[in-house]
């Protein structure tokens, strides 16, 4: 890499660097670290921040999540993909203390988090966002941000009515909040109610709010869902900027282009299990993954005019009927 790719000092610079060149110094470093990791389910990572062991969650007779072993590399962007109902969000809920597994253990930075509450997990440095955005509507954008301030003395009832005890901390937090809002281009909206923001802006606000807690690991549940394509680009830039600042990002996503574009490592789940993991290039070429979970034509745009060509349609149809017999029996056997 060139010499001017020095490590970015501020969040804004990091965002700018990420936007200018997706292969920032950190990205290159992470990619190098992961080059020698074998793309095999449950493989050990050189520097794992999150280690999951034998986590199971059953709802009645249905096993929603059954993960034998999973390690998440520190400082990398790990994508968690899989079809609907694969257990991605359930795994998120389990790891962040929003649901309790039937069995299993996991450690974060060497400390066990099993049995800890969602709040305790967040305080430990693993903060999450939600698939259905949870902006606090009747609070202003700035209040949303300030709410996330960690260890705020003014949030203790005993001190809350003595403003002089916490005013300094509040000022400090406000400065930080404004800085983060500026980076997400929400600073002009700081006094608006969060409920008045658009869907995409709420996603940004939720991510910005999570950053207020100074997390080590940030878990994003479908950050690009329901966001227009123009904003997806900027969201991707923000996610990369998080990594470039040294944070570990784990995200669930359905948009395969986004996954391929920014992730350093991809974990594929299906029916509660991890069926494949590896660098995006490798995993997406894995025939089983492509066929069963992404669809053979996952790259084809359904709005593509080429599909209107009868010849192309006929070929696709022939392919589909031809493939129906063999892989499906395979799939059923796999289930047993």
């Amino acid at each position: 890499m060139s010499a001017e790719m020095s490590s970015p000092t501020t969040a804004v610079e990091a965002a700018a660097a990420a936007a200018a060149d997706p292969a920032s110094a950190e990205a290159v470093q992470v990619a190098r670290d992961l080059t020698f990791v074998e793309p095999r389910v449950g493989v050990a990572k050189p520097d794992a921040v999150l280690v999951v062991d034998g986590v199971q969650r059953r709802f009645g007779g249905m096993t929603a999540v059954d993960v034998d072993h999973l390690e998440v590399q520190r400082g990398a962007i790990t994508a968690l993909i899989g079809p609907n109902g694969a257990g991605k969000t359930t795994l998120f809920n389990l790891l962040t203390g929003f649901d309790t597994p039937n069995q299993g253990s996991w450690t974060f930075d060497g400390r066990s988090l099993a049995g800890r509450s969602g709040a305790a997990v967040a305080r430990a440095g693993m903060v999450r966002t939600f698939q259905l955005t949870k902006a606090l509507s009747r609070l202003t954008v700035l209040q949303n941000m300030l709410l996330a301030t960690p260890r705020h003395p003014g949030e203790r009832l005993g001190l809350s009515w003595l403003p002089f005890l916490w005013r300094a901390r509040e000022r400090e937090a406000t400065e930080k909040a404004l800085e983060i809002l500026a980076r997400f281009k929400l600073d002009a909206k700081k006094d608006d109610f969060a409920g008045a923001l658009s869907g995409g802006q709420r996603k940004l606000l939720e991510m910005a709010r999570a950053l207020m807690t100074d997390p080590t690991v940030i878990m994003l549940d479908e950050p690009m869902a329901g966001v227009n394509p123009a904003l997806v680009q900027s969201l991707l830039g923000h996610v990369q900027a998080l990594r470039d600042e040294g944070m570990t990002v784990v995200f669930v996503e359905h948009d395969m282009h986004a996954v391929r574009h920014i992730s350093d490592w991809v974990v594929v789940m299906a029916e509660g299990r991890i069926v494949a993991e590896g660098p995006p290039g490798t995993v997406m070429q894995d025939q089983a993954v492509v066929d069963a979970y992404l669809g053979a034509h996952h790259d084809t745009d359904l709005g593509d005019d080429a599909l209107l060509d009868p010849a192309v349609l006929a070929r696709l149809e022939a392919e589909a009927t031809g493939r129906q017999s063999a892989p499906e029996t395979d799939h059923q056997e796999e289930q047993r």
């Binding site: 969602g118 709040a119 999450r128 606090l136 709410l147 916490w166």
Partner: protein, 328 residues
């Protein structure tokens, strides 16, 4: 002549100790519902328990301060007992549990089981427990007239009681002002909006909800003391309808506003008095009886509550814009 007497009565309601008691109860309920989103449907239970605590302690020789502490402790313990099993569940459960717990308090109070303590269904007479409070008055004996209002300086329905009652309300308003403008209040409002989001930011949601429930409950208990100081402790007078009066007061003034409960209480009782006294004067003799007027008044309160929720859910002081974002 008749109408000027009615206006004086209405003016009297504005400063009455009962109005202050309802204002204080609504301030407590505002902490629960307005700021934290807790559906407490049993504020009358807190009030009754506080009244029993104060009255019974006073009757057994406790000083006013100790009796007040007993009332406060009653409210706090009641809140904790209700909160521990329900605050981890969804909001509706608290509503169900509080409404039935308030009824349990009333039923136990009026049963013959604890007759020696609570006086059963006939309750406790005011002169049994108010002597200590009245003795604290620094005012000289006699009557004082301010404007059209004349009351005894000391005694049951006195200026002394009015001073204390509104003083307590003022203190509660200042306290709520301070805590709700603080980061602590911000967390409460966050919980009201979406408690999972607040949990995901590392806040112990259960502890905050419990603090709010206890604080509001203690205010309810003190309101119960204020309510019973000018009369007696009557379990049947402090039942479900009292809870709904407190809700009407809060929604009329505006939930999640600082002065909403106070304004709501004053307006509610003034209008309620105007309505009943006005009906007595305006309606021809023999058209409706005195008890029917009370019943019609109660019905109109119900209609007002409905109209309020439908046409002006933010209350008088509330901000319509804020309410427009309610996603639930």
């Amino acid at each position: 002549m008749e109408w000027s007497r009615i206006l004086t009565q209405v003016l009297g309601e504005l400063v009455a100790p009962t109005t202050a008691a309802y204002a204080l109860a609504a301030i407590g309920l505002n902490l629960h519902f307005g700021y934290t989103g807790l559906l407490n449907m049993g504020q009358a239970g807190f009030m009754l328990l506080g009244a029993y605590g104060f009255a019974i302690a006073s009757m057994h020789g406790a000083s006013v301060v100790v009796a007040l502490l007993v009332a406060i402790a009653c409210g706090a313990v009641f809140a904790a007992v209700l909160g521990i099993p329900t605050l981890k569940l969804r909001g509706d459960y608290l509503a169900i549990v509080t409404i039935s717990a308030a009824e349990i308090i009333r039923m136990v109070g009026r049963s013959t089981m604890f007759d020696d303590w609570t006086g059963g269904s006939s309750g406790l007479r005011g002169d049994q427990y108010t002597a200590g409070f009245q003795a604290l008055s620094p005012l000289p004996d006699g009557r004082t007239t301010i404007g059209p209002l004349t009351y005894l300086n000391n005694g049951f329905d006195s200026w002394w009681l009015r001073l204390v009652a509104w003083g307590v309300v003022a203190l509660a308003v200042v306290f709520v002002l301070l805590v709700t403008r603080s980061p602590w209040g911000r967390v409460l409002k966050g919980i009201r909006e979406d408690e999972d989001a607040v949990r995901a930011l590392g806040k112990n949601v259960f502890a905050y909800k419990m603090q709010a429930l206890v604080l509001g409950g203690v205010m309810g208990a003190l309101a119960g003391v204020l309510y019973t100081l000018p009369r007696s402790v009557q379990p049947d007078g402090m039942g479900r309808s009292m809870t709904f009066f407190v809700w009407t007061v809060l929604l009329l003034g505006g939930a999640a506003t600082l002065f909403g409960p106070v304004l709501g209480s004053m307006l509610f009782f003034a209008l309620y008095m105007l309505l009943r006294a006005g009906m007595r004067v305006a309606l021809p003799d023999g058209f409706v009886s005195a008890t029917q007027i009370e019943q019609i008044g109660g019905m109109l309160v119900g209609v007002t509550l409905m109209a309020l929720v439908i046409f002006r859910p933010q209350g008088i002081l509330g901000n319509r814009k804020e309410l427009a974002f309610d996603v639930r």
